[in-house]
Amino acid sequence: MTDVTEIWSYLAARPLLWLTCTVVAYLVADRISLRLNRHPVANPVLLSVLFIAPLLWLSGTPYATYFDGAQFIHFLLGPATVALAVPLHANLAKIRDSVLPLIAALFAGSLAAAGSAIVIAMAFGLPDQVIVSISPKSTTAPVALGVSEALGGSPTLTAVLVILTGITGAVVVTPLMNMLRIEDWRARGFAVGVAAHGIGTARAFQVNETAGAFAGIGLALNAVLTSILAPILVALLL
């Protein structure tokens, strides 16, 4: 019989183990989220991460090894972004009806996301490099990293802040909107797409199909706008 450690060292060096682990952790997280009626705090991304991180830590697995397996799932973010065109197209009539609110909310929401981050971070006396790194936090990761790098920020810090912003938005949006008695799914979805990119969009799809479609538009338009707006705001405010 083969030694357990031998099996482990074989599996640990292959993508299969952590790929499987990621899918299974997500399935369990999604089950829990469903069981709790999609309670905002039971966010599937957050739960999955909380399941996997301790396993990596206990087994002494470096992130690079984990990512060798998880990259196959990470890769699908690209095609999934393209796929957002489908709900966008399916909701064309609703979008036509609200072009003006959409454009206004895009500029206001995007400006508020980057502007308030810069101003609050300055009030805390954070160093310039950190302020620059937090400024594009509400947009999708590739754009945020590009902006941060171009302005002399830290891409690693930005990557972490982008993901945390997404999770924050996804957790906060439902209770916040319910508290304010906002029932318009277009407005709710669009705002979370602008403020909390893909993770907020994933939450919107969980709650309502129209909200998901509008979140997708918010995410896409804000990717374009933040790349233009964040550098201007940093120059003006910092």
């Binding site: 991460v49 690209g78 796929a83 206004a104 909310a105 810090l157």
Partner: protein, 116 residues
Amino acid sequence: MLTPIAILLVCQLAGETASRALGLPVPGPVLGLLLLFVVLLLRPAVARSVGPVAQRILAHLSLLFVPAGVGVMAQLDVLVRDWFALGVTLVASTVISLLVGVGTFLFVLRLSGGSR
């Protein structure tokens, strides 16, 4: 099932190529989204083929963020020094953006007399 996947990949590939070739700050997949949207406008029949697969992928959009999320846990040490200030900034700024976004949407909707 392969045709819709090919369509998604071709759009992404075209987007990535355009993004690089033109030196645009907009990522390839976002350009791919716009391209597929135009294709759907011109040929609505494509929606019947891509639709179901797209919906399946989007139903589990959360799964796709798990690898990056785990990466955050691996790099939490970048937050150590300023964790409190960063945490407050992040939460406050996200709430502000949500409020301003949703408020503006509803305000302009009412101004423009849009449907409720």
